[in-house]
Point group: C2
Chain length 340, copies 2
């Protein structure tokens, strides 16, 4: 009596079955999920594509990374509002011959992220397809009136980023060029993976930082860096109807330890690291602004994560980068699926 | 400064910009949407694929039908719980050369469905792809404790369906075989389309019926018929841990007016119509059960939509069809993307 689709849904359900939670009333197995929002809170809704060939390569990216990252990317949007994730929906299209070990590994990565960030599966949709397609919707929650929007930046506000920028893109370059022998050996030996490759394969949405900034009312605007600073900062500025001045020497760079002959301390190395930091995608760090009168309350690091002031919001709506060769217009060269 | 992705998001936003609504706080243009659920209500969450090659064909299905149906399918899941839609998220992957008239028509169909069912766009994600991929998430709402689940059917409950079954599949057969000249002429002449083709291209989620059944507490269980009665009824029965007895002569059939030489009143015509009604997908009618003591309150039609009693829930967990040749086991032959 059971159809193959029913069996696939069962496998997903068994792998990801959520712990009983008081606010997730009906999870998988009905037409839709029922979720009871808490009084005085708003729901946060976001969805994200994660598509084979566009966002990952089947032969290059481990299936557990695909599972982890598909959820982590969407969770990063919840972090960017200062919210807490509550549950997610999984839309999965998959070739039939992958409903074996690939699916097991994919669900394992997804389960790890769901457990780590306390965001259980609530439902979804499955179908067959020659390529792997993933679309994730996350529902989060935040106390009404405390969400940090992109539109709140004011002239004079200071601009901050978390972590180091360009590290995920650097990791992707290593992976693409097959220069990941050391990392793979480390993974095989210790079961763990570190550095740029980890940042590319298993990014960590900055949920705690976002929630802290929202609770303390320290950020006037915020977004996550998914497409690169040079593409995302203009979006925040457009939403706030302001400009920005970025000091390139303040941008926290990724150390280029393993990229051929380039060294972070050489001029060419610094240039390459800056380019990665401005244009590299997939960092999932937070970009936020703060009123200068409250900026003294922003620490230089939050639970081990560096927070760095990189510039200032301006009334003039241009985006200016102070570089070695003087002030130049910041060019959007980050990730854009429609760029030719 | 604007990236092509930003421009696409702008086009979608302008086409679908929602009317100001008190419970949709931040719509498009931020990392995520904020939605304020009403007190005493639960949120309903559902997502649905609508993929080129799997669910529609670019050369066969008009773009406005693709837009309408992608939302209507997901709304049908909200109807199946008895809920009211509140907003939706659109994940769209599209080839660059279609960001012209195809996209305009797609958004036009989507806008019609969004306006008709009062379900504004709240956000989404876009990317480039050689094939058109759509994933829609709908957030609905229902008074806490009144959602109608699949799991509530009890032995002795009567089984009902809305509308006529198999009509959408019949429309698809006409379209596939190119037998839609009359319908296309009618469309060109009157701007309207009727009958099986309309049912296939522009299905109507049964939201009012679902809400009425929930408010009146008349249905013990409910789901929508998306994959065909023979595939969906077993799902309802499995969730309720019951079986069912269906009388084939009571199943409301679609009249086969235009399928070659078959006529509804011939034996072969009736057989073909029954097969479509049992196994045809995409009807988006409601399947529900009712306690026999309250069944007198279920009318024979609801706002012009027929409601038909087709059988009874049994304690014995088998699914039996009473047919011309006696009682037989109901075989699941509906839509299953993983069936070989």
């Amino acid at each position: 009596m059971k159809t193959s689709e029913n069996r696939l849904v069962e496998r997903i359900t068994v792998s990801l079955e959520p712990p009983p939670r008081t606010n997730l009333r009906v999870a998988i197995g009905d037409d839709a999920a029922l979720f009871a929002p808490r009084k005085g809170h708003q729901s946060i809704l976001t969805c994200d594509w994660f598509l084979e060939g566009t966002h990952f390569l089947r032969k290059v990216h481990p299936a557990n990374s695909v599972g982890w990252k598909s959820l982590a990317r969407a969770l990063s949007d919840i972090a960017a509002m200062g919210g807490r994730p509550k549950c997610f929906l999984l839309s999965l299209a998959i070739p039939e011959n992958l409903i074996t070990s690939w699916l097991t590994q994919f669900l394992s990565g997804l389960r790890c992220a769901a457990a780590r960030y306390q965001c259980p599966l609530a439902g979804g949709d499955t179908t067959r397809r020659t390529e792997i397609l993933v679309s994730i919707t996350v529902v989060g929650e935040i106390r009404s009136g405390t969400a940090i929007l992109r539109s709140g930046a004011r002239p004079g506000d200071l601009i901050y980023v978390s972590g180091r920028l360009g590290e995920a893109e650097f990791g992707w370059n290593l992976l693409r060029k097959g220069r990941t022998k050391a990392a793979r050996e480390e993974l095989a030996k210790t079961g763990k993976i570190h550095g740029p490759l980890r940042k590319h394969l298993f990014p960590e949405p900055r949920l705690s930082l976002g929630q802290w900034l929202a609770a303390q009312k320290l950020a006037t605007s915020m977004m996550d860096l998914s497409d690169g600073l040079s593409t995302d900062l203009p979006r925040l500025c457009a939403a706030s109807r302001v400009g920005a001045f970025i000091n390139s020497t303040h941008v926290p760079l990724s150390p280029l330890k393993r990229e051929g002959k380039l060294r972070s301390n050489s001029t060419a190395g610094r240039r390459r690291a800056l380019q990665l930091a401005l244009d590299g995608g997939d960092d999932y760090e937070l970009l936020f602004t703060a009123d200068p009168r409250r900026a003294c309350r922003i620490p230089s690091s939050f639970r081990g994560l560096p927070l760095t002031r990189i510039g200032e919001i301006t009334r003039d709506r241009r985006l200016i980068l102070k570089s070695e060769s003087g002030n130049v217009a910041l060019q959007s060269r980050g990730w854009d699926p429609f760029r030719k």
